[in-house]
Amino acid sequence: MTVLTTSPATPPSSVGSADVRSARPAPASIPMARLAKVELRKMFDTRSGFWLMASIAILAVLATAATVVFAPDSAITYESFASAIGFPMAVILPIIAILSVTGEWSQRNGLTTFTLVPSRGRVIWAKALVSVGVAVVSMALAASIGALGNLLGSAANGTDAVWDVSAAALAQIFLANVLGLLVGFMLGVVIRSSAPAIVGYFVYSALLPTVFGMLAAFQDWFADLQPWIDFNYAQTALFDESMTGEQWTQLGVTGVVWLALPIAYGVWRVLRTEVK
């Protein structure tokens, strides 16, 4: 009732200008930077979204602390920290991308979003840009936390810090994580529903490699073909120190089939399907 007692007292004339029909300049279109800013805000402005983002830093700190505490002295190297932090990142980043897209459907928020911005392609672009930006920033943060852990760990051991990950290798790890995030994004636009898309991600990143691995183990003809067919397998090369030209080509070929084409299909669907 508190709401109601004040209602009739509110003069409708405060809606805006005195005359709704008054002349005004034609509005400018919504710039991409603003859309990206709004999409970034939407990643943080729910409790679950906020903690998902916060968990990147929290898990990086926990993984670093665990490495300092549990790893033997000989294993206090930057590579240990990088791989300890890398695992939670590989899970969280795709989920961030998935939820950024599927929230518009699962929570039916798209009814408002796509009414305020009818060009859905631009909204999806903004989401993709912001997701990749978040991935890069959070990986930089995680890499810094790992570096700090490496310094602390070796100081505690009284040894010199071992920096056994080259800049090129770090860049490849970044790329692998961005690809993982884009897989999440792809599943988001193709499936457009949070829970199935997240399940889909685990099928994609855990079940498929196992199936392909077994196939390769039992069928010789497939073992040779696997790098050209299995996207996950082609990505594992990114964690090697240096990649051959052939490995880059394999990554490109499998990436087109398992990532680029599904994204194209998903976006095409998003642009055409009804938003209810």
Binding site: V3, R21, A23, R24, V38, R108, L111, R272
Partner: protein
């Protein structure tokens, strides 16, 4: 379409042209044509599932039409550069991320449209959501509070056109009264308001023009005054004599349509109907002008007619 002077709201009317939306074999919207004019409240009336919401989703580009067009001020909604500044839309108050606060929902709209931050507080005040309520999450809102938030989102860009789907749902009587005043004032200042509802009395009070839809088809449209005046006479006889009465009226050159058990609606004055019945010797139980019955009877009558047509087809 709009080259210059778009700022003057002369063309801010909503024009729906031969709109059809087919799902599989089901025609949810069937050749719908109507106009909602500036400075007037247009009530879009129909029972549930009549095609109101589908029509409104097509208007704002969320649903692609099978055929037909909708323009607002001469332009397609999808071609508006920043639609929130020109058309305020409320389709479903519950379609919000449940984890956001009411204030955050408004802030997202304000940011998207590029408006000053103070608009958020102005809108919260306008729809009477208190600062405390605005910080609560939408999942903890009552339907009435969600409607207020949805109306605030529709109004934040100070648009010239409002498209509201069942905005009175979940509002209590004082809230309904408040919204009626708000929409009336908005139209009086030159705005275009299209308002859907199955709450007939609410529409009857606020609307200038009416569009009645049933089974995806427009069954009547026009000014409220004209529609009420054209309802003719209701005449009732004993149920087994209704066919005799129909023949008597036809013989007298009057057209009649069934309007319930033993009842016919006749497009003529009561006196002529009474004369025709008396001449044929058909005893009457009731004879009265239909306009006194109000919009609800007309609404039920019209939608019942389409229901019968649909069954016969």
């Amino acid at each position: 379409m709009c080259l210059a002077g778009c700022g003057t709201r002369l063309g801010a009317m909503i024009e729906v042209q031969s709109l059809t939306k087919v799902y599989g074999g089901f025609r949810a919207v069937d050749d719908v044509t109507f106009t909602a004019e500036a400075g007037r409240v247009t009530g879009f009336l129909g029972p549930n599932g009549a095609g109101k919401s589908t029509t409104m989703r097509v208007m704002v580009g969320l649903t692609p039409p099978t055929t037909g067009t909708v323009t607002i001020g001469g332009r397609r909604f999808a071609d508006l550069p920043n639609p929130g500044l020109e058309v305020g839309v409320l389709l479903d108050a519950s379609a919000q991320h449940a984890g956001r606060t009411g204030r955050e929902v408004l802030t997202l709209a304000q940011e998207t449209m590029g408006l000053p931050r103070r608009r958020v507080d102005e809108m919260l005040e306008l729809v009477s959501l208190t600062p405390g309520e605005s910080k609560r999450r939408v999942k903890d809102y009552s339907l009435g509070m969600r409607q207020r938030l949805g109306i605030a989102t529709a109004l934040i860009g100070d648009p010239q056109v409002l498209i509201l789907d069942e905005p009175a749902n979940g509002l209590d009587p004082a809230g309904i009264r408040w919204m009626r005043d708000l929409l009336r004032g908005y139209a009086d200042r030159g705005g275009t308001v299209l308002l859907s509802s199955h709450l007939l009395h609410e529409i009857e009070v606020v609307a200038d023009d009416l569009v009645l839809i049933g089974h995806g088809r427009i069954v009547a449209s026009g000014t409220k005054a004209a529609l009420l005046a054209s309802t003719g006479t209701l005449v009732r006889t004993r149920a087994h004599l209704v066919d005799d009465l129909g023949r008597a009226l036809t013989a007298a050159g009057l057209t009649s349509t069934p309007a319930g058990a033993g009842t016919l609606r006749v497009d003529a004055e009561s006196a002529h109907v009474g004369d025709a019945a008396a001449a044929a010797g058909v005893p009457l139980v009731e004879l009265r002008p239909a306009d006194g019955a109000g919009l609800e009877e007309m609404f039920l009558e019209l939608t019942a007619e389409t229901a019968r047509e649909g069954a016969a087809a």
